[in-house]
Amino acid sequence: MKLRRSMLFVPGSNTSMVCNAFVYRPDTVMFDLEDSVAVSEKDSARLMVYHALQHFTYEDVETAVRVNPLNSIYGLLDLEAVIRAGVDIVRLPKTDCVEDVLDMQEVIEKIEYKIGTSKKTKLLAAIESARGVVNAVDIARCSDRLMGIALGAEDFVRDLHTQRTKSGSELMAARAQILLAARAAKIHAFDSVFSDVKDKEGFEREARYIRDLGFDGKSLINPNQISVLHKIFAPSKKNVEWSLDVIEAAENAKEKGLGVVSIDGKMVDAPIIARAKWTLELAKASGMLGGDE
Protein backbone atom coordinates (compact mmCIF):
# COMPACT_ATOMS: atom_id res chain seq x y z
CA MET A 1 0.00 0.00 0.00
CA LYS A 2 1.34 3.40 -0.97
CA LEU A 3 1.88 5.70 1.98
CA ARG A 4 0.96 9.29 1.43
CA ARG A 5 1.78 11.06 4.65
CA SER A 6 3.61 14.00 3.12
CA MET A 7 2.84 15.93 -0.06
CA LEU A 8 5.47 18.60 -0.55
CA PHE A 9 4.30 21.64 -2.50
CA VAL A 10 6.96 22.88 -4.91
CA PRO A 11 6.27 26.08 -6.83
CA GLY A 12 6.87 25.36 -10.51
CA SER A 13 8.63 28.72 -10.81
CA ASN A 14 11.17 27.95 -8.07
CA THR A 15 13.93 26.21 -10.03
CA SER A 16 16.04 25.30 -7.06
CA MET A 17 13.11 23.62 -5.33
CA VAL A 18 11.99 21.88 -8.53
CA CYS A 19 15.47 20.43 -9.00
CA ASN A 20 16.02 19.41 -5.39
CA ALA A 21 12.65 18.46 -3.89
CA PHE A 22 13.21 14.73 -4.44
CA VAL A 23 16.20 14.85 -2.07
CA TYR A 24 13.91 15.44 0.92
CA ARG A 25 12.03 12.21 0.23
CA PRO A 26 8.43 13.26 0.73
CA ASP A 27 5.90 10.55 -0.07
CA THR A 28 4.69 12.70 -2.96
CA VAL A 29 6.19 15.74 -4.66
CA MET A 30 3.47 18.18 -5.68
CA PHE A 31 4.61 20.66 -8.31
CA ASP A 32 2.41 23.73 -8.35
CA LEU A 33 1.44 25.62 -11.49
CA GLU A 34 -1.46 27.46 -9.88
CA ASP A 35 -1.44 30.00 -7.08
CA SER A 36 2.27 30.05 -6.31
CA VAL A 37 3.22 30.91 -9.90
CA ALA A 38 2.90 34.50 -11.14
CA VAL A 39 0.86 34.99 -14.30
CA SER A 40 3.96 36.18 -16.16
CA GLU A 41 5.76 32.93 -15.34
CA LYS A 42 2.99 30.40 -16.04
CA ASP A 43 4.49 29.40 -19.41
CA SER A 44 8.02 29.02 -18.13
CA ALA A 45 6.99 27.12 -14.99
CA ARG A 46 4.90 24.74 -17.10
CA LEU A 47 7.94 23.90 -19.23
CA MET A 48 10.14 23.50 -16.15
CA VAL A 49 7.72 21.03 -14.58
CA TYR A 50 7.26 19.26 -17.93
CA HIS A 51 10.99 18.51 -18.06
CA ALA A 52 11.42 17.81 -14.34
CA LEU A 53 8.71 15.14 -14.44
CA GLN A 54 10.71 13.29 -17.09
CA HIS A 55 14.07 13.62 -15.35
CA PHE A 56 15.55 10.50 -13.80
CA THR A 57 15.66 12.14 -10.35
CA TYR A 58 11.86 11.83 -10.22
CA GLU A 59 11.67 8.27 -11.54
CA ASP A 60 11.19 6.73 -8.10
CA VAL A 61 9.12 9.50 -6.55
CA GLU A 62 5.37 9.80 -6.80
CA THR A 63 4.64 13.07 -8.59
CA ALA A 64 1.59 15.27 -8.61
CA VAL A 65 0.93 18.60 -10.25
CA ARG A 66 -1.59 21.20 -9.16
CA VAL A 67 -2.79 22.59 -12.46
CA ASN A 68 -4.72 25.76 -13.14
CA PRO A 69 -8.50 25.46 -13.42
CA LEU A 70 -9.90 24.42 -16.79
CA ASN A 71 -11.86 27.65 -17.01
CA SER A 72 -8.60 29.63 -17.02
CA ILE A 73 -6.46 30.07 -20.14
CA TYR A 74 -3.74 27.96 -18.53
CA GLY A 75 -5.63 24.85 -17.47
CA LEU A 76 -5.65 22.97 -20.75
CA LEU A 77 -2.01 23.81 -21.51
CA ASP A 78 -1.00 22.61 -18.04
CA LEU A 79 -2.81 19.31 -18.55
CA GLU A 80 -1.33 18.79 -21.99
CA ALA A 81 2.17 19.28 -20.55
CA VAL A 82 1.91 17.17 -17.42
CA ILE A 83 0.02 14.23 -18.95
CA ARG A 84 2.58 14.05 -21.76
CA ALA A 85 5.35 14.17 -19.15
CA GLY A 86 3.81 11.20 -17.31
CA VAL A 87 2.70 12.76 -14.03
CA ASP A 88 1.15 10.29 -11.58
CA ILE A 89 -1.54 12.54 -10.11
CA VAL A 90 -3.26 15.72 -11.25
CA ARG A 91 -4.48 17.85 -8.39
CA LEU A 92 -7.65 19.74 -9.27
CA PRO A 93 -7.80 23.14 -7.65
CA LYS A 94 -11.03 24.55 -6.22
CA THR A 95 -13.24 21.52 -6.72
CA ASP A 96 -16.79 22.59 -5.99
CA CYS A 97 -18.86 19.82 -7.53
CA VAL A 98 -18.83 16.48 -9.35
CA GLU A 99 -18.79 18.20 -12.75
CA ASP A 100 -15.42 19.79 -11.96
CA VAL A 101 -13.90 16.32 -11.58
CA LEU A 102 -15.67 14.82 -14.57
CA ASP A 103 -14.72 17.73 -16.84
CA MET A 104 -11.08 17.37 -15.86
CA GLN A 105 -11.25 13.62 -16.29
CA GLU A 106 -12.69 13.97 -19.79
CA VAL A 107 -9.87 16.27 -20.89
CA ILE A 108 -7.24 13.98 -19.38
CA GLU A 109 -8.76 10.96 -21.14
CA LYS A 110 -8.63 12.80 -24.47
CA ILE A 111 -4.98 13.72 -24.01
CA GLU A 112 -4.03 10.19 -22.92
CA TYR A 113 -5.81 8.81 -25.98
CA LYS A 114 -4.16 11.36 -28.28
CA ILE A 115 -0.63 10.57 -27.12
CA GLY A 116 -1.30 6.84 -26.96
CA THR A 117 -0.26 6.27 -23.37
CA SER A 118 -1.50 3.31 -21.36
CA LYS A 119 -0.94 5.22 -18.14
CA LYS A 120 -4.11 6.16 -16.31
CA THR A 121 -3.43 9.44 -14.56
CA LYS A 122 -4.97 9.65 -11.11
CA LEU A 123 -6.87 12.62 -9.75
CA LEU A 124 -6.79 14.41 -6.41
CA ALA A 125 -9.56 16.90 -5.77
CA ALA A 126 -8.76 19.90 -3.59
CA ILE A 127 -11.83 21.13 -1.78
CA GLU A 128 -11.51 24.81 -1.00
CA SER A 129 -15.04 26.19 -0.58
CA ALA A 130 -18.17 25.68 1.48
CA ARG A 131 -19.89 24.35 -1.66
CA GLY A 132 -17.10 21.86 -2.17
CA VAL A 133 -17.33 20.65 1.43
CA VAL A 134 -21.10 20.24 1.16
CA ASN A 135 -20.59 18.22 -2.05
CA ALA A 136 -17.60 16.25 -0.73
CA VAL A 137 -19.48 12.95 -0.45
CA ASP A 138 -20.55 13.02 -4.11
CA ILE A 139 -17.17 14.31 -5.26
CA ALA A 140 -15.30 11.54 -3.45
CA ARG A 141 -17.17 8.76 -5.21
CA CYS A 142 -17.61 10.24 -8.69
CA SER A 143 -14.56 8.82 -10.46
CA ASP A 144 -12.42 5.71 -10.25
CA ARG A 145 -9.45 7.93 -11.07
CA LEU A 146 -9.89 9.88 -7.87
CA MET A 147 -7.27 8.69 -5.38
CA GLY A 148 -8.07 11.26 -2.73
CA ILE A 149 -9.61 14.52 -1.66
CA ALA A 150 -7.75 17.29 0.11
CA LEU A 151 -8.71 20.29 2.15
CA GLY A 152 -7.44 23.62 0.84
CA ALA A 153 -7.82 25.68 3.98
CA GLU A 154 -6.73 29.15 2.92
CA ASP A 155 -9.43 29.63 0.29
CA PHE A 156 -11.92 27.72 2.42
CA VAL A 157 -11.68 30.05 5.43
CA ARG A 158 -12.04 33.03 3.13
CA ASP A 159 -15.20 31.51 1.70
CA LEU A 160 -16.41 30.86 5.22
CA HIS A 161 -15.87 34.53 6.17
CA THR A 162 -13.40 33.65 8.87
CA GLN A 163 -9.65 33.16 9.29
CA ARG A 164 -7.09 30.57 10.32
CA THR A 165 -6.65 30.22 14.06
CA LYS A 166 -4.19 28.24 16.15
CA SER A 167 -6.99 26.03 17.47
CA GLY A 168 -8.20 25.17 13.96
CA SER A 169 -11.83 25.36 15.07
CA GLU A 170 -12.75 27.08 11.79
CA LEU A 171 -11.78 23.90 9.93
CA MET A 172 -13.54 21.44 12.22
CA ALA A 173 -16.61 20.88 10.03
CA ALA A 174 -14.66 20.74 6.76
CA ARG A 175 -12.09 18.28 8.11
CA ALA A 176 -14.80 15.99 9.44
CA GLN A 177 -16.80 16.10 6.22
CA ILE A 178 -13.80 15.55 3.95
CA LEU A 179 -12.48 12.72 6.07
CA LEU A 180 -15.83 10.93 6.22
CA ALA A 181 -16.43 11.41 2.50
CA ALA A 182 -13.00 9.98 1.68
CA ARG A 183 -13.36 7.03 4.00
CA ALA A 184 -16.85 6.20 2.70
CA ALA A 185 -15.46 6.21 -0.86
CA LYS A 186 -12.32 4.33 0.23
CA ILE A 187 -9.93 6.98 -1.03
CA HIS A 188 -7.24 9.05 0.69
CA ALA A 189 -7.90 12.14 2.79
CA PHE A 190 -5.32 14.92 2.99
CA ASP A 191 -5.16 17.85 5.32
CA SER A 192 -4.23 21.38 4.35
CA VAL A 193 -0.83 23.06 4.64
CA PHE A 194 0.35 24.62 7.90
CA SER A 195 1.52 27.99 6.65
CA ASP A 196 3.56 29.33 9.58
CA VAL A 197 6.83 27.47 8.99
CA LYS A 198 8.42 29.09 12.06
CA ASP A 199 5.78 27.67 14.41
CA LYS A 200 7.17 24.17 14.86
CA GLU A 201 5.07 23.42 17.93
CA GLY A 202 1.91 24.51 16.16
CA PHE A 203 2.74 22.31 13.18
CA GLU A 204 3.36 19.29 15.41
CA ARG A 205 0.13 19.88 17.30
CA GLU A 206 -1.86 20.13 14.07
CA ALA A 207 -0.13 17.07 12.56
CA ARG A 208 -0.99 14.96 15.64
CA TYR A 209 -4.54 16.24 15.55
CA ILE A 210 -5.17 15.33 11.90
CA ARG A 211 -3.42 11.97 12.39
CA ASP A 212 -5.77 11.19 15.26
CA LEU A 213 -8.77 12.28 13.20
CA GLY A 214 -7.77 9.71 10.60
CA PHE A 215 -6.20 11.70 7.76
CA ASP A 216 -3.64 9.88 5.61
CA GLY A 217 -1.36 12.85 5.44
CA LYS A 218 -0.88 16.51 4.93
CA SER A 219 0.21 18.96 2.28
CA LEU A 220 3.49 20.63 3.23
CA ILE A 221 5.16 23.83 2.11
CA ASN A 222 8.57 23.39 3.72
CA PRO A 223 10.91 20.40 3.43
CA ASN A 224 11.77 20.73 7.12
CA GLN A 225 8.22 19.63 7.95
CA ILE A 226 8.64 16.22 6.25
CA SER A 227 10.68 14.34 8.85
CA VAL A 228 8.63 15.86 11.68
CA LEU A 229 5.41 14.68 10.04
CA HIS A 230 6.78 11.21 9.31
CA LYS A 231 7.85 10.81 12.95
CA ILE A 232 4.37 11.81 14.12
CA PHE A 233 2.77 9.33 11.74
CA ALA A 234 5.14 6.54 12.78
CA PRO A 235 3.49 4.00 15.10
CA SER A 236 4.71 3.54 18.66
CA LYS A 237 7.15 0.70 19.40
CA LYS A 238 4.51 -0.94 21.61
CA ASN A 239 1.97 -0.78 18.78
CA VAL A 240 4.46 -2.31 16.33
CA GLU A 241 5.24 -5.18 18.70
CA TRP A 242 1.54 -5.79 19.25
CA SER A 243 0.95 -5.75 15.47
CA LEU A 244 3.74 -8.28 14.93
CA ASP A 245 2.10 -10.52 17.54
CA VAL A 246 -1.28 -10.15 15.83
CA ILE A 247 0.11 -11.09 12.42
CA GLU A 248 2.01 -14.04 13.85
CA ALA A 249 -1.06 -15.28 15.68
CA ALA A 250 -3.21 -14.82 12.59
CA GLU A 251 -0.76 -16.81 10.46
CA ASN A 252 -0.54 -19.59 13.04
CA ALA A 253 -4.32 -19.81 13.21
CA LYS A 254 -4.55 -19.94 9.44
CA GLU A 255 -2.04 -22.81 9.29
CA LYS A 256 -4.03 -24.70 11.86
CA GLY A 257 -7.28 -23.98 10.06
CA LEU A 258 -8.66 -21.99 12.96
CA GLY A 259 -11.15 -19.23 12.22
CA VAL A 260 -10.72 -17.31 15.43
CA VAL A 261 -7.46 -15.90 16.80
CA SER A 262 -6.82 -14.73 20.30
CA ILE A 263 -3.93 -12.90 21.95
CA ASP A 264 -3.70 -12.76 25.74
CA GLY A 265 -7.26 -14.01 25.89
CA LYS A 266 -8.62 -11.26 23.63
CA MET A 267 -10.25 -12.12 20.33
CA VAL A 268 -8.55 -10.79 17.21
CA ASP A 269 -10.79 -10.41 14.18
CA ALA A 270 -10.33 -9.26 10.58
CA PRO A 271 -10.45 -5.46 11.20
CA ILE A 272 -7.81 -5.81 13.91
CA ILE A 273 -5.60 -7.87 11.62
CA ALA A 274 -6.04 -5.28 8.85
CA ARG A 275 -5.08 -2.50 11.27
CA ALA A 276 -2.03 -4.47 12.39
CA LYS A 277 -0.93 -4.86 8.77
CA TRP A 278 -1.34 -1.13 8.22
CA THR A 279 0.67 -0.36 11.36
CA LEU A 280 3.50 -2.57 10.08
CA GLU A 281 3.43 -0.80 6.70
CA LEU A 282 3.79 2.51 8.51
CA ALA A 283 6.54 1.08 10.71
CA LYS A 284 8.41 -0.17 7.67
CA ALA A 285 8.12 3.19 5.91
CA SER A 286 9.28 4.89 9.08
CA GLY A 287 12.44 2.79 9.24
CA MET A 288 11.32 0.83 12.30
CA LEU A 289 11.42 -2.52 10.49
CA GLY A 290 14.33 -1.99 8.13
CA GLY A 291 12.21 0.19 5.85
CA ASP A 292 12.88 3.27 3.75
CA GLU A 293 13.86 5.95 6.22
Binding site: T15, S16, V18, C19, N20, D43, S44, L47, M48, Y50, H51, A52, Q54, H55, L77, E80, A81, R84
Partner: protein, 98 residues
Protein backbone atom coordinates in the same frame (compact mmCIF):
# COMPACT_ATOMS: atom_id res chain seq x y z
CA UNK B 1 15.09 27.42 -41.19
CA UNK B 2 12.68 29.40 -39.05
CA UNK B 3 13.55 32.69 -37.53
CA UNK B 4 12.28 34.00 -34.24
CA UNK B 5 9.96 36.98 -34.48
CA UNK B 6 11.41 39.16 -31.75
CA UNK B 7 13.72 39.30 -28.74
CA UNK B 8 12.67 37.48 -25.58
CA UNK B 9 14.02 36.12 -22.35
CA UNK B 10 13.26 33.52 -19.69
CA UNK B 11 14.70 32.36 -16.38
CA UNK B 12 16.32 34.02 -13.41
CA UNK B 13 19.79 34.69 -12.02
CA UNK B 14 19.08 32.60 -8.94
CA UNK B 15 21.17 29.59 -8.00
CA UNK B 16 20.39 26.40 -10.01
CA UNK B 17 18.70 28.51 -12.71
CA UNK B 18 19.75 30.13 -15.96
CA UNK B 19 18.80 33.47 -17.48
CA UNK B 20 18.49 33.21 -21.23
CA UNK B 21 18.09 36.11 -23.67
CA UNK B 22 17.48 35.52 -27.36
CA UNK B 23 17.23 37.85 -30.33
CA UNK B 24 16.88 37.47 -34.08
CA UNK B 25 19.95 38.07 -36.25
CA UNK B 26 20.44 38.41 -40.03
CA UNK B 27 22.99 35.60 -40.39
CA UNK B 28 22.00 31.93 -40.69
CA UNK B 29 23.69 30.77 -37.53
CA UNK B 30 23.12 29.86 -33.91
CA UNK B 31 25.26 32.36 -32.05
CA UNK B 32 25.85 31.47 -28.39
CA UNK B 33 27.31 33.66 -25.65
CA UNK B 34 27.76 31.60 -22.51
CA UNK B 35 28.60 32.83 -19.02
CA UNK B 36 28.88 30.00 -16.53
CA UNK B 37 30.87 29.22 -13.42
CA UNK B 38 31.32 25.71 -14.80
CA UNK B 39 32.22 26.86 -18.31
CA UNK B 40 35.70 25.37 -18.24
CA UNK B 41 34.39 21.91 -17.42
CA UNK B 42 30.95 21.86 -19.05
CA UNK B 43 31.00 24.78 -21.51
CA UNK B 44 31.10 22.56 -24.63
CA UNK B 45 28.33 20.33 -23.30
CA UNK B 46 26.11 23.33 -22.55
CA UNK B 47 26.73 24.77 -26.02
CA UNK B 48 25.90 21.39 -27.60
CA UNK B 49 22.71 21.20 -25.55
CA UNK B 50 21.64 24.69 -26.62
CA UNK B 51 22.45 24.05 -30.29
CA UNK B 52 20.57 20.75 -30.32
CA UNK B 53 17.57 22.25 -28.55
CA UNK B 54 17.35 25.14 -31.02
CA UNK B 55 17.81 22.86 -34.04
CA UNK B 56 15.04 20.56 -32.82
CA UNK B 57 12.71 23.53 -32.91
CA UNK B 58 13.85 24.29 -36.43
CA UNK B 59 15.28 27.67 -35.47
CA UNK B 60 18.28 29.47 -36.91
CA UNK B 61 19.22 33.14 -37.33
CA UNK B 62 19.35 33.45 -33.56
CA UNK B 63 21.62 34.95 -30.95
CA UNK B 64 21.47 33.34 -27.52
CA UNK B 65 22.99 34.76 -24.35
CA UNK B 66 23.05 32.35 -21.42
CA UNK B 67 23.90 33.28 -17.84
CA UNK B 68 24.13 29.92 -16.15
CA UNK B 69 23.94 29.71 -12.37
CA UNK B 70 24.62 26.01 -12.08
CA UNK B 71 21.47 24.87 -13.88
CA UNK B 72 20.81 21.24 -14.73
CA UNK B 73 20.46 20.37 -18.41
CA UNK B 74 16.69 20.26 -18.32
CA UNK B 75 16.53 23.68 -16.68
CA UNK B 76 18.57 25.24 -19.50
CA UNK B 77 16.37 23.46 -22.02
CA UNK B 78 13.15 24.61 -20.32
CA UNK B 79 14.32 28.23 -20.11
CA UNK B 80 15.49 28.26 -23.74
CA UNK B 81 12.24 26.75 -24.99
CA UNK B 82 10.25 29.25 -22.91
CA UNK B 83 12.19 32.14 -24.42
CA UNK B 84 11.66 30.83 -27.97
CA UNK B 85 7.94 30.31 -27.40
CA UNK B 86 7.70 33.84 -26.02
CA UNK B 87 9.61 35.23 -29.00
CA UNK B 88 7.30 33.54 -31.47
CA UNK B 89 4.11 33.98 -29.44
CA UNK B 90 2.75 30.70 -30.69
CA UNK B 91 -0.69 29.64 -29.55
CA UNK B 92 -0.10 25.99 -30.34
CA UNK B 93 2.84 24.17 -28.77
CA UNK B 94 4.40 21.27 -30.64
CA UNK B 95 5.10 19.16 -27.57
CA UNK B 96 6.78 16.42 -29.58
CA UNK B 97 9.64 18.82 -30.33
CA UNK B 98 10.21 19.91 -26.74
Amino acid sequence: MNKIDKSAYAGTLESSDAFIEIKPIDQDEIRIELHSSVEEMYGDDIRDLITKCVQELGISYISIKVQDKGALDYVIKARLQAAILRANQKDKIEWEKL
